[in-house]
């Protein structure tokens, strides 16, 4: 057990906690034990929803995945150049929490991430198919028939086009998962530049791979990447890639978007 001083908005909370607790665990305990209102976003508590980002002792991180023990070591900042050493006050660990940048401030460390979600194009699908060697396809069962039947009957009302049953089954039986990016906004906050930002451009990069180059979706996505607030504004700080909790590597993706750009302008 150690004693920590949590500082939020110039308010200080002294708490006893275990080194294996996460920063989010500690905030939850403060709210429970001290019965006070403390505003922060959180939902899944395991790095899947992307809501609990904060600037934790000068570095962007998810509070649910940052342990107290992580803060007891020297850490590299998002710039990659400087380090942050743990600070103690009379033996108590200082944990300074600030809201993420480039988001609308609500209270304490809670923000409203409109800018982040605006940066991600609507055509960027959140699903990906799983390519794994020797992975067999899923097997059909009657639940797919029921699903297809419902889609057909709904389309009578919605006037949405219905895919052919054969195409529907082919697409439905591919193993799939959600995209790696959890839309947490750490990259956007850590980036010193003002533009569409790493999350949005990484989403464009991912979406391009899912669309054929001759489609309008593809060319529209590419146009967003090339736009004035697009890849040209990236100054290769790579702060985005350093703070990403999911290994999405937005910095590398932006450089790959540049490569598509130069390839196109050569032809």
């Amino acid at each position: 057990m150690i004693t920590a001083i949590i500082i939020i908005n110039n308010r200080r909370y002294t708490v006893e906690c275990s080194e294996s607790n996460t920063v989010l665990d500690v905030l939850e305990s403060i709210r429970k034990e001290k019965k006070l209102s403390l505003h922060y976003r959180h939902s899944c508590h395991h790095g899947s929803c992307g809501t609990c980002g904060a600037i934790i002792n000068c570095i962007e991180g998810l509070m649910c995945l940052t342990k107290i023990s992580d803060l007891m070591h020297e850490r590299k900042t998002a710039s990659g150049k400087d380090t942050v050493a743990p600070q103690y006050e009379n033996g108590k660990l200082i944990i300074n929490l600030e809201p993420l940048k480039k988001a609308t401030y609500i209270a304490d460390i809670a923000v409203y991430p409109a800018q982040l979600f605006e940066s991600i194009p609507e055509t960027a699908s959140y699903k990906r198919s799983i390519e794994r060697a020797n992975a067999s396809q899923l097997e059909p069962d009657s639940s797919y028939d029921e699903l297809y039947k419902q889609i057909c009957s709904d389309s009578a009302q919605t006037q949405e086009p219905v895919p052919d049953k054969h195409v529907f089954m082919k697409n439905s039986l591919i193993r799939n998962k959600l995209e790696l990016c959890i839309e947490c906004g750490l990259c956007l906050s850590a980036c010193p530049e003002e533009f569409r930002g790493p999350a949005g451009l990484a989403a464009i990069h991912t979406a391009l791979a899912k669309n054929k180059p001759e489609t309008s979706t593809y060319s529209n996505l590419l146009a967003l990447a090339y736009a004035e607030d697009g890849i040209a504004q990236c100054k290769r700080h790579f702060a985005c890639s350093r703070v990403c909790p999911q290994g999405v590597a937005p910095g590398r993706r932006i450089q790959e978007l540049r490569a598509i750009d130069s390839k196109n302008s050569n032809t």
Partner: protein, 397 residues
Amino acid sequence: MKNNLPSRKKLNKTIAIIGGGGTGCALAWDLSLRGFSVLVFEKGELTSGTTGRHHGQIHSGARYAVGDKNIARECMEESILLRKLVPEAVEFNGGIFLALTDEEADYTDTFIEACHEAGIPAQEISIEKALQFEPLINPYCKRCVTVPDGTFDAFRVPLSFAAGARMLGAAFYSFHEVVQLDTVGNKIISLIVTTPEGKQQSFAADFVINAGGAWAKQIAALAKVHVPVTPAPGTMVAVKNRFTDKVISRLAPPGDGDIIVPQRELSIIGSTQRVTDNPEGLLPLPEEISFLLKRATELIPAFSNAPIHAAWSAARPLAGEGLTGSGRSLSRDFMIVDHSDAGITNFISLIGGKATVLRAMAEKAADYASEKLGEQTYCETRTIVPPSWRNYYTYKD
């Protein structure tokens, strides 16, 4: 994704929902489609109570088939609807139940029969075939049954419903805690809410729905009425490896540590169950974590070799009271408590239930509220696809 929601006729009635979890979000969507003016109050971010911490399994209902056919049938119906309505937030790869002991092998026929009676297409497959699908499951399993289980994002599914509601005019007040319900005669006439700035604000409503989940008792108490809810915390552990694409379950009656759910690059073992009186600030106990890892290893031998990514607890909102032990004996069904009997005629509480059936809970509560308000409305959430969760944050009122 369709974002052009058809315009709705507007009923001149306001319904306030207390609680922005799975049920509150689905209710806001359902009631907005019916034309009501909707206010949602949540003391934190949406889904910050129980919903978001769900391991994400979409239940085909197989888990409940032997115990309760009605719940199983409802899960089957709702799981298909979720696959249709929020495909972008669902990983649908099916599930396998594994019998690991002779006793479980013996139970398999009862299990399959119960699934079929509930309309769940459970199918026994050979162990060789199961290993072909999922090479990392326990190769010494005795029997394998496939079912249409899946995974969903417990934040993005409810938020998609919230986004739809918002686009139809519902007002969401996150970080607004309801602290007082003012009654005149037999009606709640206004809700007093603490804003994020710490000020008190009053909102008027014609009807109030308590969708507080594990917090429902505290909310009902604001109107001096009682609801029988028992918060039942469960712990889950996520490790850094996606061992399978299918949800892997133990072929036995529901118990602790018997489901492994894949989610992005993680695998999650769930869950434990105990009962408590305060759903706030729950932390996992060390013995729960070691128990879960041990149980996970029985289903997927390599599970506990992977580094732990996170461990957390969430409070199920069990409907019922006076429980001892784990509370597993209590039904996972949901119910509507009408507080007219206690003297308040425009207030209901929605209690119990589970994440897979969030839409159905909302439909039944919205039907009930509509009737109480004397409005002829019908549910459209079975057919109308909500917009993306991203619209929740990009939509401008």
